[in-house]
Amino acid sequence: MRHRWRDRLLTTLLWLSIAVLLAALGWLLADLVWRGWPGLSWSFLLDAPRDAGRAGGIGSILVATGLILLVALGTALPLGLGSAIWLNEYTRAGSRAGRWTRLSLDILAGVPSIVFGLFGYAFFGLFLGLGYSILSGGLTLACMILPILIRTIEQGLAAQGDDWRQAGAALGMSRASLLWQVLLPVSAPAIATGTLLGMGRASAETAALLFTSGYVDRMPEALSDSGRALSVHIYDLAMNVSGGDAAAYSAALVLIVLIVFINGLTLGASQVWMRKRVSYGYY
């Protein structure tokens, strides 16, 4: 009772905080829809950009973005899966190799994206000679999403108790068979979640792509071609092209829808995981 005024003040501040967040978010989304919706159409999605992007569409951009994501995932998934399995199944708890790998991944997760862009430029672009290319951009993104991918898959593998591993060992099964037949299929939702999280992160990425996959907005013909990702296109239209705002907003709307879709799938994958746990008492 003594603190009645304090409590009322704090509660008011609390609701104010919520109001501020909702207002800002609402403003952002409303703005996005108001300015971006008019420009959306099928031709926008399919046509090539004209007049530096002010007119036409984002067809070639979408293709380039898709290719970059494909390269990123195609590289990160096998590497990430292999590392997660090695960390979980082949390293003893507290082993130095395991600890160093995990530590380096944690540090990597914190490196700013622009620095990844510098690295990608220096290593993939210059040192490996890939220049400005979809390949270069995709590989750089792969490095960026590996930490979260490995962490998620590892969690999925570790969450299964040792029961099945012991059963498999007692039956004289090789660890490889057990992994392939039992442990990995059960971890599939975790692997899917990690993959989707990585894809979401990669789709939103801009700074790392500026000097790796480049700016060329033509339809790419090969992975060695330079290609413009959707996020880079938005940046270019907003900052370098006068009068490009409207097109930028429409492209932004498309990007948001893509990311919301991916997030929705992530949620779905983890729901599947939860349901399996509950109905069969897996863990």
């Binding site: 029961d163 498999g168 007692a170 039956l171 004289g172 068979s177």
Partner: protein, 282 residues
């Protein structure tokens, strides 16, 4: 449908299959000879200098309070201790004269000859069929007919065949606890082992299911050699031919007495044994 376990243990609504009980207690030729076995974890001894014989076709019960190293002994018999990085096993375990603890021992073949059933049923998150087919395929059985024959025989042996023959593709985890444990036993039997190790196979099950599994264990005697760890003295008396009594001495597990079951319970040599089996201690 899992109604069998709620019915009385005297009726046998499941198909028993051809099972001979064999001689009630077998030839006194030890199949497995354990000599001076010691097990230590991270330098801390859990089991000290155990020597005992496991006789072919008999059920040997390992009894004693928890922490005396019974499970450690069991784990070392099929070298499951190898999975623990801080476990050291010393001594000799002779199976048909061959030392199992030698580094040159083929583990895969060993675990085919000696199976292990865990306290908590752990069927794989696969269908009933695949639970049994997986170890068979792993050990080289490929023909569909052969697979089918062995799986049906194993399921018959544990009394599950009638219950599940129409739903072999159903998930194994959907079975009841007792059925899951019987499935795990079938999974071990499908490899046609000589020895079955069981670590308190009934303790995680409800009493009715436990009774069904216990009956199954008795029926396996003669065809298989069983080593069963159990806390339940009454159960040990009911099922075992031989009993080994363990106790803690200076925080290390020791074998106090070993012998034919009736003798151990009726006329124990050691006074500790007498105290334990009569419920005065432990």
């Amino acid at each position: 449908m899992a109604i069998t376990e709620s019915q009385s243990s005297h009726a046998t609504p499941y198909t028993v299959g051809e099972m001979q009980a064999g001689a009630p207690c077998c030839e006194p030729v030890p199949l497995l000879q354990i000599r001076n076995l010691s097990v230590a974890y991270s330098g801390q001894k859990a089991l000290d200098g155990i020597s005992l014989d496991i006789h072919r076709g008999c059920i040997t019960a390992l009894i004693g309070p928890s922490g005396c190293g019974k499970t450690s002994l069991l784990s070392s018999l099929n070298r499951m201790t190898d999975l623990l990085p801080n476990a050291r096993v010393e001594g000799r375990i002779l199976l048909d004269g061959v030392d199992l603890l030698a580094p040159s021992c083929d583990l895969t073949a060993l675990r085919r000859r000696i199976g292990l059933i865990f306290q908590k049923p752990n069927p794989f998150p696969l269908s009933i069929w695949r639970n049994l087919a997986l170890p068979l395929k792993e050990h080289g059985t490929t023909g569909k007919a052969e697979l089918h024959e062995k799986i049906e025989r194993a399921l018959n042996d544990v009394g599950l065949w009638e219950e599940v023959k129409d739903r072999l593709d159903a998930p194994a985890l959907a079975l009841s606890g007792g059925q899951q444990q019987r499935l795990c036993i079938a999974r071990a039997l499908v490899l046609e082992p000589e020895i079955l190790l069981m670590d308190e196979p009934c303790s995680a099950l409800d009493p009715i299911a436990g009774e069904v599994v216990e009956q199954l264990i008795r029926r396996l005697q003669g065809r298989y050699t069983l080593v069963v760890v159990t806390h339940n003295l009454a159960q040990a008396r009911r099922i075992a031919n031989y009993a080994a009594f363990f106790w803690m001495r200076e925080r290390v597990g020791n074998l106090i007495e070993f012998g034919a079951c009736e003798n151990l319970f009726a006329q124990p040599t050691h006074k500790l044994t007498a105290a334990y089996v009569n419920g005065r201690q432990g």
